[in-house]
Amino acid sequence: MRGGALRAFVVKELQHIVRDRQTLTVLLLMPLVQVLLFGNALRNDVRDIRIAVVDPSPSAVTQRLRDAFVATRRFHIVADARAMDQVEPLFRRGEADVALVIDPAFTEQLGRGEPARVLLVTDASDPNTGSTMEAYALAVLGDYERTLRGGSAPGIAVQTRMRFNPTLESVNLFIPGLIALVLTLVSALMTAISLSREKERGTLEILLVSPLRPWQIIVGKVVPYIALGLANAATTLAVAWVVFHVPFRGSAALLLAESLLYTLASLALGVLIAANASSQRAAMLGALVVTMLPNTLLSGMIFPIASMPAPLRLVTNVVPARWFIVIARGIMLKGVGLEHLWVETLVLVGMTALLLVAAVRRFHARIA
């Protein structure tokens, strides 16, 4: 068995990939569209808060309170309601986010030197946006209180610094995860489907009776996907860098090496799935359930692992992407090297080794 046959096999596999235009287009387009979407559309920041004011007895004093909100530009008043029961429909229709309910006796209370009553209602159906909106409103009310008192209030000022991502760009967070996703998609999903298709059509048997050794068939299958995956990941990085100026602080060589390691793990997973699946459909579903789902949901790519309940947090430990994402974020955003990432790298190496052994064994047992 010389290198020539293996090369011919790799070429055949590449031709398969290039010929299937629809799949190739989706594969090449997907990372680009995803970067653009994640970078542009997925924001949590709250910029424009619609406020409804309930002010049953308007006066110069309450007018100043309203002005205080409008002056921030973050708030704009969308409705003036006479009573609380007019606020509820606004919230239900999603036309207002916050309601400022001023007590009918507000002006008198202030005049008498009593604390003046104000109720702040927030649409908390989205807890995060709700808390953020409430915090902004509290800041406005705090300033207003201060002007009432005339002079600076006592207190503790908090000076905050956001390390690694000062503008809190969510795209910076998503890109490393996206790279993991792209690598998984190409290496695990595509490998699983393409291997199971050959199995279904019986062409795998032709390969098996050829002088090619089983490991060579696997290598021939996966080499083109490794190339495709890395190329895809590179495009993702380039777009992220050019369009969104996502930082790249660490070593590119290290990231490449870690990506290769991760790709190997995914490929092994793909071969495992294909070896176990009875049909293309089963392989597809298997790959979706075993790779794509955990990689998007349980890897910390989008949703922070720290927020999950303990049992799920434990489960995330067996998801290779979880470790890869920590590594990629470390390299890209923090600019750290192996001295801070050796634990994660070791875990990934262990997983890869385990998966590779399992894949080769399973392939021998089930297919060869």
Partner: protein, 382 residues
């Protein structure tokens, strides 16, 4: 009608004969609920707090106590040097460094103002932002208390002119968070997850199902029979449409029973909207199936469309935080309107009067998508 009856019987038989399929239909909503509802959360639970206390006063200790007592922050460690703290931040042992400078307490007593420093690991910008809001609120609350305690002592100096106004110039502020006072992220996410479920069942199953008949050659066989386009499409879509509604029921019942997710509005409205939305989702699946030759392609194309749709739908991030162009794109995704309806009805108890616009859009969408899909689908190649 008779023909449709035979086609329906065939379709139901095929679906329910496939064990894997049946398992999926009933297990997927439950698993999805269990995993997604718990995993898909942006709520910030516990941030690892690292303290560098150069003051070592009652005030500095009180600040740390207040933060940890809130349950949002867990003391992960402390050090005398900032360098050590920074190391902890780099290898993720800490999410927040709280630096309490020397002479904090003395400054506070003397000038009524003190300054502390918080350094967040902002890799996850959104989470860091939220954590920072929590921390600031806690510290500000403590500051206000402290000010009240300090006032008599400090007030004595400038009391003459200031005292009456200072006493009266305060607000009695009450806060209320409607619909989700506990700030439970699951209440917010579950209606969205149900939308994902219905969308996947609708589009993915339809596209893959028809692509499979194409691949196997049975579609050609049907095409040479007198089965009309309408009969064929009805025979394919009615089963998947009904399964979609069943999925929604299973998912909703599970979420309600296990997570206590509220159902404040009318269930009729929920299922009515879902019935309309499913027509859109099925139509998309039908359109895709007309474009592809194999199941693999169908999967990929649908997957791609779903990613775009779901990300743009406001499911995970508020639509109103998107740039204007993205808001426009979002307005054109049917998913967004269905998400709005579900959240309004389930969480806020919205009625038809509150969501009629969304329903109208969904209906319009259904008609258009379906019309195009039916036109696209041909028994015969021109």
């Amino acid at each position: 009608m008779r023909t449709i009856r035979f086609l329906l019987r065939k379709e139901y038989r095929q679906i329910f004969r496939d064990r894997v399929m049946v398992a999926q239909i009933f297990m997927v909503p439950i698993i999805q609920m269990l995993v997604l509802a718990n995993a898909a959360t942006f709520s910030v639970r516990s941030v690892q707090l690292w303290v560098v206390d150069d003051d070592r006063s009652s005030v500095s200790r009180a600040i740390v106590d207040r933060l940890t007592a809130s349950g949002r922050f867990v003391l992960a460690g402390s050090s005398a040097s900032m360098a050590e703290a920074d190391d902890a931040l780099l290898d993720r042992r800490a999410g927040l460094i709280l630096h309490l400078p020397a002479r904090l307490e003395r400054e506070l007593v003397r000038t009524r103002r003190g300054e502390i420093q918080m350094i967040f690991n902002a890799e996850d910008g959104a989470a860091a932002g939220i954590a920072s809001a929590y921390a600031q609120r806690i510290v500000a609350g403590y500051g206000a208390e402290l000010a009240a305690e300090l006032r008599p002592a400090v007030g004595a100096i400038g009391a003459a002119s200031d005292a009456p106004r200072a006493a009266g110039g305060s607000l009695d502020l009450r806060l209320r968070g409607w619909y989700n006072p506990e700030l439970d992220y699951r209440d917010f996410m579950v209606p969205g997850i149900l939308v994902v479920l219905v969308t996947i069942v609708g589009s993915m199953l339809t596209a893959v199902n028809i692509a499979r008949e194409k691949e196997l050659g049975t579609l050609d066989q049907l095409n040479v029979t007198p089965v009309t386009k309408t009969q064929f499409i009805a025979g394919k879509l009615i089963p998947l449409w009904s399964i979609g509604l069943v999925e929604l029921g299973v998912g909703l019942a599970f979420a309600h029973a296990v997570f206590g997710v509220p159902v404040r509005g009318s269930l009729w409205l929920v299922f009515g909207a879902a019935a309309m939305y499913l027509v859109v989702a099925l139509g998309i699946g039908l359109l895709v199936s007309a474009m592809v030759d194999t199941q693999q392609q169908a999967m990929f194309v649908i997957y791609f469309i779903l990613i775009v749709y779901l990300l743009m739908s406001g499911l995970f991030t508020p639509v109103r935080s998107m740039p204007v162009w993205a808001q426009w794109v979002s307005a054109f995704t049917p998913v967004q309107h269905f998400v709005t309806v579900m959240r309004s009805v389930l969480l806020k108890g919205g009625g038809v009067g509150d969501v009629w616009r969304e329903l109208l859009v969904l209906a319009g969408y259904g008609v258009v998508v379906f019309w195009v899909a039916v036109r696209q689908y041909r028994k015969r190649v021109a």
